[in-house]
Symmetry: C2
Subunit: 365 residues, 2 copies
């Protein structure tokens, strides 16, 4: 039907079809909400969302949505719609309360909405410390804190909070940012000036050196501002997200053009409890090394022997007295499942101390 | 099922049911997207959203959703889900571009998302004038501009832009704000201090005079800040939206307590074209009165005679040379339908000039 021969459709007939579909969708969403109440009523009366929110289950549902998808809607649009449906079903009694680094309108708020849907209640807070505090005290059910972005790399100050906090990591959220070179004419040979935020210009340095070595690079306050300026002249271009260019009627000259393909801001979801495996998980470990030669090696050896892939390792000065270094390590797998479970059991307790910060579903796009 | 006797449900069985429902919902959303492509392909190839976006049709779909709804989800949650589904189906080729008064995170952005869904591309702009300009130039498909709020009343500067702009009004969006008195204990007799934004305190003045005349009123920077402070003592309370109180673990003492029940910020959607009737419409008129006695009366008389209810009238100094006053008038009905059509035809052209700013669906909650 989508790829059929273009004929003028009978608008009224198509709309009647859509009306029938909407009726069915509504009936199903309603049925889903009633089933969600059953899940939430395990204790006799309808519970608060925090009592029956299951991140591993949500991740499984969303992965199935992606697996089933054959278009025409994109995976991320469908994932977003299903997140919203789950979010609405979950929020029937007492919605999730999620703290984040405010003010409203920041990337952190976007991450909250992306992960928990719009039926959760976001709580803008003044600092990442306050997000930890509010979750620890129970005022917030979860918190969303930035842990890595392309401009700053790992946000050490966030990691350091885990050194003294008992909170767990329950999830991760990734916001992807792609850079496009765009202009009014869409022709690379017209471009003599490129407007963009300084950070974005830096992210595309290699590409620019290779393709537009002579063009003037003009840093402006934001990528959107760059796109706005670029629409006024044929010899100007902007580097910005695709949507900013679209908004200003620019044509894509090239993109994505960022030098590293993984231009992403990553957030961790923090909470007070651990959750079961989702089938595709990641685990964050905080390893404190006793001050003796080869200690780190002895910690890592069982992981390597069990074939566990390590996604990241960061060393931090530890705050305690018994050791001198702490390492944040991220590995593939869940602490309740082999091979990670076995590997952790074999780590030599004499070499150091391994604290599991959390096992959580790998981010769904 | 929802109201059945509380028994411990078989979690795995309920989840299997939900999985089946999700599969059906996904199949239906996909089918809906394919039908939307048919509508959008009227001209042979898939058109940009602006070419087949129909506000009157969306309003009809949403009203049907509300009519059909018997719970357990609330009307506004279902309306939001369907707006998102429509927004996603519409955005398959070239999403709607919607200008608004920035920055991101403002009520105006919320209004854009509420009305157009998250698949539309919002364009934060520096001023309401710029929103008009961007829509007029075609850089944005629509604009969303605030026209009335409880604190300022009518925003005259927005209305004045219509005096010199050829743009049409294509819709209205209402964001409702309710005020609640909330405290840690939830008991009114404990309250000796009330924290809230000054504006919110003013909005609840009568209620407070009547119920808590002796309590100290303490204005703070925001309602959220008030809620934050109120959680620290038993004798403190806050006035804020319900969600802010929920976030800080406060109990509702009373509410809604705002003196006027319609504590709403209203936005107009502006565009370049007029749209057909939705069945429940409102029309904005800009009336310029020639300088002669009884002119306004002669304009209003046919409206009254045809039984058309007038929702609002605002006088503004006109900018043109031929008249001395301009009035913004909002009436019930659509210009293409009786009785408004007949009434407009009978207005004495000698008395003044009536410009139809737009007929548009009355806001769906």
């Amino acid at each position: 039907m989508a790829e059929g021969k273009p004929t003028k459709p009978d608008l009224a007939a198509v709309r009647a079809q859509i009306d029938g579909i909407d009726r069915e969708i509504q009936a199903l969403i309603t049925e889903r909400a009633l089933f969600a109440r059953q899940v939430g009523r395990a204790k006799g009366k309808l519970a608060a969302a925090i009592d029956y929110y299951r991140p591993e289950r949500e991740a499984q549902v969303l992965r199935r949505v992606v697996d089933r998808n054959d278009g025409p809607l994109s995976d991320d649009v469908l994932v977003r719609l299903f997140r919203e449906i789950m979010s609405a079903c979950l929020a029937q009694q007492e919605p999730l309360k999620v703290g984040y680094l405010g003010p409203e309108g920041t990337f952190s708020q976007q991450a909250v909405h992306k992960h928990f849907g719009h039926s959760a209640h976001g709580l803008p807070l003044a600092s990442v410390e306050e997000v930890f505090d509010e979750v620890a005290s129970g005022a917030a059910d979860f918190g969303v804190v930035p842990v890595e972005n392309s401009s700053q790399g790992t946000i050490q100050s966030t990691l350091d909070l885990f050194l003294t906090s008992p909170l767990m990591i329950c999830g991760e959220v990734e916001l992807r940012v792609h850079q496009y070179l765009m202009s009014r004419t869409g022709r690379i040979e017209d471009i003599e000036r490129i407007y963009s935020h300084g950070l974005s210009l830096a992210q595309c340095k290699n590409w620019l050196r290779q393709h537009l070595p002579l063009a003037e690079k003009l840093p402006v306050a934001s990528n959107a501002e760059g796109a706005r300026r670029a629409r006024n002249a044929d010899d100007a271009a902007a580097i910005a997200g695709e949507s900013a260019g679209r908004v200003y009627g620019l044509k894509v000259v090239a993109g994505p053009i960022e030098d590293r393909g993984d231009n992403t801001t990553r957030f961790l979801v923090i909470g007070r409890a651990a959750f079961p495996p989702s089938g595709h998980d990641r685990t964050s470990l905080l390893v404190s090394i006793h001050d003796q030669p080869g200690a780190l090696y002895r910690i890592l050896e069982p992981l390597a022997r069990h074939g566990i892939s390590m996604d990241r390792i960061e060393s931090r000065p530890a705050h305690g007295a018994l050791w001198q270094y702490a390492f944040f390590i991220e590995v593939t797998g869940h602490v309740e499942e082999s091979p990670l479970k076995d590997a952790l059991a074999e780590i030599d307790a004499f070499a150091g101390d391994v604290r599991v910060l959390g096992s959580y579903p790998v981010a769904v796009p």
